[in-house]
Symmetry: C2
Subunit: 254 residues, 2 copies
């Protein structure tokens, strides 16, 4: 059994740095918290570099055969390592995997242009998973997917489908080549979502919370689409809008 | 011009207490921040008891004729009064209005059973507004709608439609009397949302983030409905689920 009792321990300091994007990019590692998220990671072949457990925490029985060889830490150290108000007693340091995505004819994709709120991005990835997409591309200006709040909001969906970073313009070119129509979420000059005849294959682009999808992306769309507003709200939350659009485009193809 | 320079000022202390539900309920007042939310409040006849402005902040020109007679405060005091990391320079203390709701034949309603995350509740109210509902009922166990994070997430939609607190069982009885069908969001034993034949009049019930809608409510539903899951996600975020369901039920009736 491996124990860490000193708050000055070098590993503790190193792991805490994983809450910064810089350190995550440098080390190729990220930190996740709680039994649910860790189980999702394990079940989807994410490599666990270290499992860190508070001394009073009992690991789930199903994990015993996995020889995870956890580090046992004090409650105080767990509090230092967790970024939540109520630490769940178990953390894992994971290795990023080389996530690959290829646009295929007939596929379903979501492209994210500059979404900045971690909760929104996590919820979007969870929704992309639920609606059965083949992959998600995160464009420039989008919050880091390994941010702890993003990871938490995905509820593990990040491990269920390919999520890659890239230039959306290039991915839209790929879609054109594979004849996957690109729909871009817009408020003006667009067709109502309910009038779109989706074949069930699509790439949907959603944009920044305040400014929406960038004009450079809009002009390359096959179709701009909007969700009709019936009340006095000016817009919908981006994760809600993504959900409504994905389910509608998805359903049309069935 | 009214100025407050002392951080010990009794009004400052009183206003800060409005971040607690107890004080809001006692005083019948709540606090909102930022020009957008305050403008929505003003435009929808919410009574502004006090407007509080940081000395360097310029009020929007459109507000000048309104004789809002603001309190001018220092940056430090604004920082004390705001609950955001980057205060927007203007706050308002508002009076709660006696929001009334009546179930009518042909109406559209959302009932919320125990949603606890402020961001989720605010987003749900914003979505209810966008989808043109006639009102929202917040059941027991639901986070206070005057919580500052809820208010922020509504983006002002709270002021656009009646949002009331109450016992959902009683409101469901009202629906039965007015022949408004009650759909309850569920994961099991339910009909797929895409197979529901909505007339366009409905009350939709959504539930707690972890445990869903309570059984007592489920048993009184006219129809349990679920959103089909195509990928590996176990469920959707409650605000996303509410959005998908509301737009589908709404659309069917058009």
């Amino acid at each position: 059994m491996k124990r860490i009792e000193s708050e000055q321990n070098a590993s503790i300091k190193q792991w805490k740095k994983l809450y910064t994007r810089k350190e995550r990019d440098k080390s190729g590692q990220f930190i996740i918290e709680g039994p649910h998220l860790i189980e999702e990671a394990i079940n989807h072949n994410v490599q666990i570099a270290h499992l860190i457990v508070e001394e009073s925490y009992r690991l789930p029985a199903e994990w015993e055969h996995m020889r995870l060889d956890p580090w046992i830490v004090t409650k105080k150290i767990m509090g230092m390592l967790s970024d939540t108000e109520h630490p769940q007693g178990v953390l894992a340091i994971c290795r990023m995997s080389s996530n690959e995505l290829q646009i295929k004819a007939g596929g379903k994709y979501l492209f994210v242009d500059g979404v900045q709120d971690p909760g929104n991005l996590g919820t979007i990835i969870r929704t992309a998973d639920a609606s059965g997409l083949d992959g998600v591309v995160l464009g420039e200006g989008t919050v880091d997917v390994y941010n702890s709040k993003v990871l938490r909001s995905t509820q593990g969906s990040l491990f269920h489908l390919p999520v890659v970073k890239g230039k959306l313009e290039e991915w839209m070119d790929e879609c054109k080549q594979m004849e996957v129509p690109v729909y871009v979420s817009a408020l003006k000059g667009a067709q109502s979502l309910h009038d779109v005849n989706s074949s069930g294959s699509f790439a949907l682009v959603v944009g920044n919370e305040g400014s929406g999808v960038r004009t450079e992306i809009m002009v390359s769309a096959d179709q701009l689409v909007y969700i009709p507003m019936f009340g006095n709200a000016e817009s919908l939350n981006v994760a809600v809008a993504a959900g409504i659009m994905l389910y509608e485009l998805q359903k049309n193809g069935q």
